[in-house]
Amino acid sequence: MSDNNYEPRIVVFACNWCTYAAVDLAGTSRMQYPPNVRVIRVMCSGRIDPQFVLTAFKQGADGVIVAGCHPPSDCHYISGNIKALRRYTLFRRLLDELGIEKERFRLEWISASEANKWVKVVNEMVEDLKRLGPIKIEVGVV
């Protein structure tokens, strides 16, 4: 479907306490994973406004990951992750309306100790996106 040199670009919005720390741990543990991800740190997954995700797609991101602490109770701020869960459950339907394939967006719960899960998620997503090819999105739609 796409040429072999295609490298998807993935924007990650990660909470400070769980997922950002898991990415740190993956590095500290010298786990290797594809360099296609760019992590943006926020304090809580509850902070991640859908407009950030849409901005990423509009700019040409091939994939977006929203990641935080495991529901129900790992959230550093009581329930920000639950709010993110509810928000992005609805948001997925919107992506469908926009013609953005569901594989291009992932909501993941990765605790600070789950560096291996982080690596697995990145590997899977890069593989999925390579199969899908670059995002085709009409500027102006989002």
């Binding site: 590095g27 360099p35 407009q51 950030f52 790992d74 550093h76 701020y77 009581i78 709010k83 600070a112």
Partner: protein, 645 residues
């Protein structure tokens, strides 16, 4: 800040940690092409004094007003660089870090790709830095009081140290007595027992006026922030009061008998009982789970010390900090693992220590199944190191040392008893290595296995079948008794504690430190500290050490009387706010209310209550609610920069 951003970019090599995988010179050159970047440098260790001086000099020389440091994770050196720019006269929140080590050089071996990623991360950081605003930390009064959860050696040590520093301490213990596991297990040097250390600590606590002890008590709610937490505890009744003189007449009359957990089930106790010799507070207690409320004990008591109608009490405590020192559970082998539970002569290491203890059910005599075993075998790594399907990944550290200590004790007391130790590896770490030699001198027989031994219960008794890997032979060892050297596992109720305090745990279920080396007794949540085996297997000495360490950390936090918090709170643009109240419902801290401004109702954020999650900002339909340092514009610019080169 209305002035034009003047950004300085500082790229760290971290020795070769970054420079081996990222072309730091190329990244530095690239940074110079980014908007508002006035100057860019690379240096071998930016966190060193020389590196920090470089930043300070450049701030002054070029009148820089935003700083980007591309180096390690902000969790590592953000405080260092904040302090550096502050000392050069800049507000410390005008710093943005690009994580090109943990998130880049350590994770990607392709130098070209890693360099490109590092450039992107720097570009993203510059995009955000251009929009950073000066902020001031929020300052709060701090309560000079600490709550310590867990009355084992770690918690008691922490409580004593804090009390000696002059703080008030609430020491909350779930069981009816202080002491914890060390009261029942553990040998220290020569014949000194864990119990002896426990007695010593209990005496110190009993005489210290700064420590208030709650036994039979548990944490049920925890909220607030460092310096100002509110802890709700439930104190369950013990039904016996201070008039108790430990005469034991109630116990004699009590008709209910259950396995005694303070002897690991080796003896029986009544529903009304006294846990162990040095138990504190020194009063009997009624186990309400088994008591049938027959009233025989009340009749027997001549001191009016028993009241069966006592109700639980709920207390609300204001504390500045929390130390979690709730310990561990011994691994409980499932029935059938090494024939455990199928033959009464198969016991655990914890039970063996009760048998060898002069305060144990046999007054220190090694009597198993009615007689002194002539041949006894220890099996190591039970429940640890993936030996069986049910076991954990990790090594429990203390079982090798403890096994050899007990093996030596048995040989000393019963020289004619043959003692076998079946092991994968012997890890008597540190000074305890000498135990291995001593055990050898006392003719303890070591048998090395790779595949777990099989325990057969034959007509003649117990037989262990094992492949000895050093001699590469299958051997059978007939024995009279088997001791399973079980490891340590997270307490079963630790998950409740996690949901109450919102600390986090690692994959094995032990609580996780903020940083294993830099913050080994701090939880990732500030104001909460961790001591002892709650973070993973530790011996008594290590737990006591962690107790002291956590106390000193609490003292550092509370001794100034004030605590500071990050200023990443929510802020309302009152002109934009329509007063729709959506943020009020979504705020987990009830920090938002409506107030009237110029005749309109608009949202108002109580800074002292806002914890800075930013959920309200993400939810606000009109973009009126923002979060300092994580404003929509700042994150969006960072997002655009992540893609657009």
């Amino acid at each position: 800040m209305s002035e034009e951003p003047r950004v300085g970019v500082f790229i760290c090599h971290c020795g070769l940690n970054i420079a081996a995988r990222v072309d730091v010179k190329a990244v530095s050159e690239y940074a110079k092409t980014l908007p508002n970047v006035v100057v860019s440098h690379d240096y071998v260790f930016m966190c060193s004094t020389v590196g920090q001086e470089l930043i300070k000099e450049e701030i002054k020389k070029h009148n820089l007003n935003r700083i980007v440091v591309a180096a390690c994770s902000p969790s590592m050196h953000e405080p260092t660089f904040r302090a550096a720019i502050e000392s050069a006269g800049l507000n410390k929140y005008l710093l943005e870090m690009a994580n090109i080590r943990e998130h880049c050089s350590w994770a990607h071996s392709d130098k070209e790709a890693a360099t490109e990623k590092a450039k992107d991360l720097v570009r993203m950081a510059v995009a955000k830095a251009r929009l950073l605003e000066p902020l001031e930390e929020i300052e709060f009064q701090a309560s000079p009081t600490a709550l310590v959860l867990g009355g084992g050696v770690a918690g008691m040590r922490a409580a004593i140290d804090l009390a000696e520093y002059g703080f008030n301490v609430y020491l909350v213990e779930k069981s009816p007595t202080l002491g914890g596991r060390a009261a029942l297990t553990g040998w220290l040097e020569s014949d000194k027992r864990g119990a002896d250390v426990v007695n010593n600590l209990i005496n110190k606590i009993a005489e210290n006026k700064n420590i208030q002890v709650f036994t039979n008590a548990e944490l049920i709610e925890f909220s607030g922030f460092p310096g100002n937490f509110t802890a709700k505890i439930r104190v369950n009744p013990r039904y016996v009061n201070e008039r108790c003189v430990l005469c034991g007449e109630c116990e004699a009359e009590c008709p209910i008998e259950v396995a005694n957990e303070y002897q690991y089930g080796l003896s029986r106790r009544k529903a009304i009982f006294f846990p162990f010799k040095a138990a504190y507070p020194p009063m009997y207690v009624i186990d309400q789970r088994v008591c049938i409320r027959c009233g025989e004990c009340v009749k027997a008591c001549r001191y009016d010390a028993i009241n069966l109608n006592k109700q639980p009490a709920i207390l609300e405590l204001k504390v500045g900090a929390l130390i979690i020192a709730t310990g561990y559970d011994p691994y409980q082998p499932p029935k059938g693992e090494y024939a455990y539970g199928l033959h009464s002569n198969i016991i655990t290491l914890f039970q063996l220590e009760r048998l060898l203890d002069k305060d144990g059910p046999t007054q220190g005599k090694l009597i198993i199944g009615g007689s002194i075993p002539r041949r006894i075998a220890f099996i190591l790594c039970v429940g640890s190191r993936n030996t069986t399907p049910n076991s954990r990944n990790y090594c429990s550290r203390m079982c090798c040392t403890s096994t050899l200590t007990n093996a030596i004790k048995i040989k000393e007391r019963y020289p004619s008893t043959d003692v076998y130790v079946l092991y994968q590896d012997i890890n008597t770490y540190g000074n305890d290595e000498s135990l291995y030699e001593q055990a050898g001198e006392k003719l303890v027989k070591f048998v090395k296995f790779e595949d777990p031994p099989v325990v057969d219960i034959g007509p003649e008794g117990l037989v262990i079948e094992v492949r000895e890997v050093t001699i590469q032979e299958d051997i059978s060892i007939p024995v009279d008794a088997i001791v399973l050297s079980v490891g340590m596992v997270p307490r079963r109720d630790v998950t409740d504690l996690i949901s109450i305090t919102r600390v986090s745990c690692g994959s094995e279920g032990f609580l996780r430190e903020a940083h294993l080396k830099l913050n080994p007794v701090e939880a990732p949540t500030s104001g909460i500290f961790l001591a002892g085996a709650v973070t993973g297997p530790k011996n008594i000495i290590e737990s006591i050490r962690a107790g002291s360490a956590s106390a000193s950390k609490v003292a550092a936090l509370l001794s100034k009387g004030k605590v500071k918090a990050e200023p990443f709170t929510a802020i309302v643009n009152e002109e934009r706010c329509s007063g729709c109240r959506i943020c009020i419902g979504i705020c987990p801290y009830k920090a938002i209310t409506l107030r009237e401004v110029d005749g309109r109702k608009v949202a108002y954020v109580e800074k002292a209550l806002c914890m800075g999650c930013g959920t309200c900002s993400a939810t606000c339909p009109s973009g009126a609610m923002q979060q300092y340092s994580f404003k929509d514009r700042q994150i969006i610019e960072q997002t655009i920069a992540a893609i657009r080169r």
